[in-house]
């Protein structure tokens, strides 16, 4: 799949219907998502056939992109009900069955310990809305 094809396919991901400022909900734009995912796969081979975890999945553009790029399985973690509803709608828009959604707080992930996932992707909140350090927490959760 070419990067432009991926970007074009990702144009159909609907953004947040009820974005919440305090969660820093903004959609990752298709061009950026396609560039990031394409690089991850072409430089590191870290998407195809891999078990991928998307932390703070939001509307799901990264998760959906990973499925389009041949991920073995994608698990999307998202805390917000409205975002999950958008995520479910987007996934069914692409007619995909390969994404598992878990509603959880990234700082209290309900996974057992051990190296369960090959790759963790995220476009996390930066900590600009009374939640300083949240980006680091996301990274720590990923590790």
């Amino acid at each position: 799949m070419k990067k432009r094809q991926l970007e074009s396919l990702l144009q159909d991901v609907e953004p947040f219907s009820r974005p919440k400022m305090d969660l820093e909900q903004y959609p990752t734009d298709p061009h950026l998502a396609a560039s990031v995912l394409f690089t991850i796969q072409s430089s590191f081979g870290d998407i195809e056939d891999r078990n991928v975890l998307d932390l703070g999945a939001g509307c799901g553009i990264l998760s959906i992109g990973c499925v389009l790029m041949g991920a073995g399985s994608v698990t999307s973690v998202e805390i917000d009900n409205d975002a999950i509803s958008d995520l479910v709608d987007n996934i069914s828009g692409y007619d995909m069955d390969d994404i598992s959604i878990v509603q959880a707080d990234v700082t209290h992930l309900p996974f057992r310990s051990g190296r369960l996932f090959d790759t963790v992707i995220m476009n996390p909140p930066f900590g600009t809305k009374n939640n300083e350090g949240i980006d680091i927490e996301f990274i720590e959760a990923a590790l």
Binding site: D49, S73, I101, A104, P110
Partner: protein
């Protein structure tokens, strides 16, 4: 919720020592067809808690073809077995149900998504 996901989830209730596996009850399942990827299956089996998978798959009646134990090498060559594992892990979807923390009894609801 796929059984692959179930195999990775544990209870995050405070003070719980061993919150795995979560007990599945009142479940309704659907089967979907997912593209078979033998490489992915072989990669993932070494990360699974195998007995937990067999237990829940048998509970749901989808455990046919799953070996009781994994071989030492944790690699499977037989395609039928790989397909059985693929089926149990990825093609069975628990669309509704309850997951219970084995220590506190706290319930988590599954309704298209696994909810905390």
């Amino acid at each position: 919720m796929k059984l692959l996901t179930h195999n990775m989830m544990k209870s995050h209730c405070k003070g719980v020592i061993n919150g795995f596996p979560l007990k599945l009850t009142h479940s309704q399942i659907e089967t979907k067809e997912i593209e078979f990827n033998p490489d992915f299956i072989n990669r993932i089996i070494s990360r699974l808690e195998w007995s937990a998978l067999v237990e829940v798959a048998n509970q749901l009646g989808v455990g046919e073809g799953l070996p009781e134990m994994l071989p030492e090498s944790q690699q499977i060559d037989d395609e039928d077995t790989l397909k059985a594992i693929h089926h149990a892990l990825l093609e069975v979807d628990v669309i509704e149900g309850e997951l219970e923390c084995p220590e506190t009894g706290r319930k988590f609801i599954i309704n298209k998504v696994f909810l905390i």
